[in-house]
Amino acid sequence: MSGRLVWLALRTARAVLWSSRRELAAVCVGGLVISGVLCLSLALRVQMAGVATPPGMGDFWVSVMAGISQPYPHGSQPTEMRPLNIPFGWLTVVLLPCVLSVTVAREDGYLDACLVAVGSRWSFWLGHVVAMVTECLLYWGAVMACCAVATALANGGLTLQASSWLPDLLPMERATLAEAPYDMGAGVALAVVTSLAICLGQLALSQVTGVRVAFLVAVALVTGSLFVMSSVLPGNLMMAARSTVFTVAYPVEMRDGMLLPGIEAGQALLPAAASCLLFSLLPLVVVLRRDYLGGSRS
């Protein structure tokens, strides 16, 4: 690809980012508020439990990314029935970036004008991918910043290691197969990369189905992971992001009768990154040929 096409892609990304900066700010504020509440919740639990060591950044990160136990039993005869406890905080933090994908894909005449101004469908699409990646990283950066501030206020350490007392403190699993110390580095990377894969997948789908349908599909995929255990569902990968701490203390029966402990964060990174690459390049097949029909076809 020539330098000019890359230059145009970067210019497109800048225009897309600038045009959606207010929505980006609103989503980041939303993420900050919710992760702030979840961090505060952990801080209060720590205080009430009288834990000796202050919570570190890894603890706050896990508290923000704490969904339900992972993996959740699947199949007609689960090994152990547990009540469904929908993690609204986690769900909101994970779903907010899907709103960013809607603002990047936008469906109005502005997109037509941008496309013609760019003069290259390659650059136009790659500009959108760059904008999407930037927005996603800014969002997760804001969530991480919130965890860092909470850590600083709690006088904890700014490391990504979760404390040994954490599994007993969060209301998910009272026991864990994993042993301290819990290094959350791979978990953090997995959460960000999986979120990016969801957003890029949604952006790609919106080129075919429109932004509304793509948004609903993304929401359904993430929410579905609360009910069905499958590494195909990105929500389960997001939950695997903190399975370093919460690997359930009992075997879970899968569809094929195997007993599995859960998804390893490190192993899940590869398919998540591959999905990002796929969703960045595959839509070119559509974008290079699609018609931009606007609102009417008179």
């Binding site: 210019r11 225009a15 005449g109 502005y110 760019v118 469908r121 076809r297």
Partner: protein, 219 residues
């Protein structure tokens, strides 16, 4: 050779033949008008010329280069197709700046002059969401002409304009034509077409029925 050469383009969307062997041309310094009822294929023809829609058959050449072959889009084009493409939360200058930043051809002063030229002036400082329909249309016209393109594609540009706005538009089209731009304009307003057109293509049911040379008064 004309600046824009459209030859025998056809486009089917679903079961509907939207364009059926449409041919026309636009020279530099000329205002070619597509005239016809709603649904006659004017907007689709303009989308094809802009590179937004790929015809099923036929060719489009702009400035001697074939679209969907040598180039993807016309090299220098300003467009207003259907409703103006605006970001409601931003003022007129921000809207123009954002689009102009992609090519980097027009300076801030150029953009300010363009806003004055379409008669928005101080009113352009408020967010576009507070604009009337006529003001939005004026800003859409500004967006099309801001980079002094070689080709201007204006779809129903008189929509929502008052009498003064329509007169201003006729003057702007005349100025752009004198600058040497090729203009492709669609309208169903006969008096507007009389005022600006140097050539008129009458369209109906996705076909060009006939072509007619005109003078173009530019009041």
């Amino acid at each position: 050779m004309s600046y824009v050469e459209v030859r025998d383009i056809c486009k089917k969307i679903g079961p509907e033949q939207v364009l059926d062997s449409v041919s026309f041309s636009v020279d530099s310094g000329e205002v070619a008008c597509l005239e016809g009822e709603n649904g006659s294929g004017k907007t689709m023809a303009m989308r094809v010329v802009c590179g937004l829609v790929r015809p099923d058959s036929g060719t489009v050449e702009v400035s001697g280069k074939r679209l969907w072959g040598e180039v993807s889009f016309p090299p220098s084009v300003g467009l207003l197709i259907e409703t103006p493409a605006l970001l409601d939360g931003y003022n007129a200058l921000d809207n123009l700046s954002l689009l102009a930043s992609i090519r980097g051809v027009a300076s801030k002063d150029d953009l300010r002059r363009t806003i004055e030229r379409v008669g928005l002036g101080p009113a352009g400082k408020k967010p576009v969401r507070k604009f009337s329909l006529g003001m939005r249309q004026r800003l859409g016209i500004a967006m099309a002409i801001m980079e002094a393109p070689e080709l201007l594609v204006l779809d129903e540009p008189t929509n929502a304009l008052d009498e003064d706005g329509a007169a201003l538009l006729v003057r702007i089209i005349g100025e752009e034509r004198e600058r040497g731009a090729a203009l492709l304009v669609s309208s169903h307003d006969a008096s507007f077409i009389d005022a600006v057109a140097t050539r008129v293509y009458h369209m109906a049911f996705g076909k060009v029925r006939n072509a007619e040379e005109r003078g173009g008064r530019h009041e």
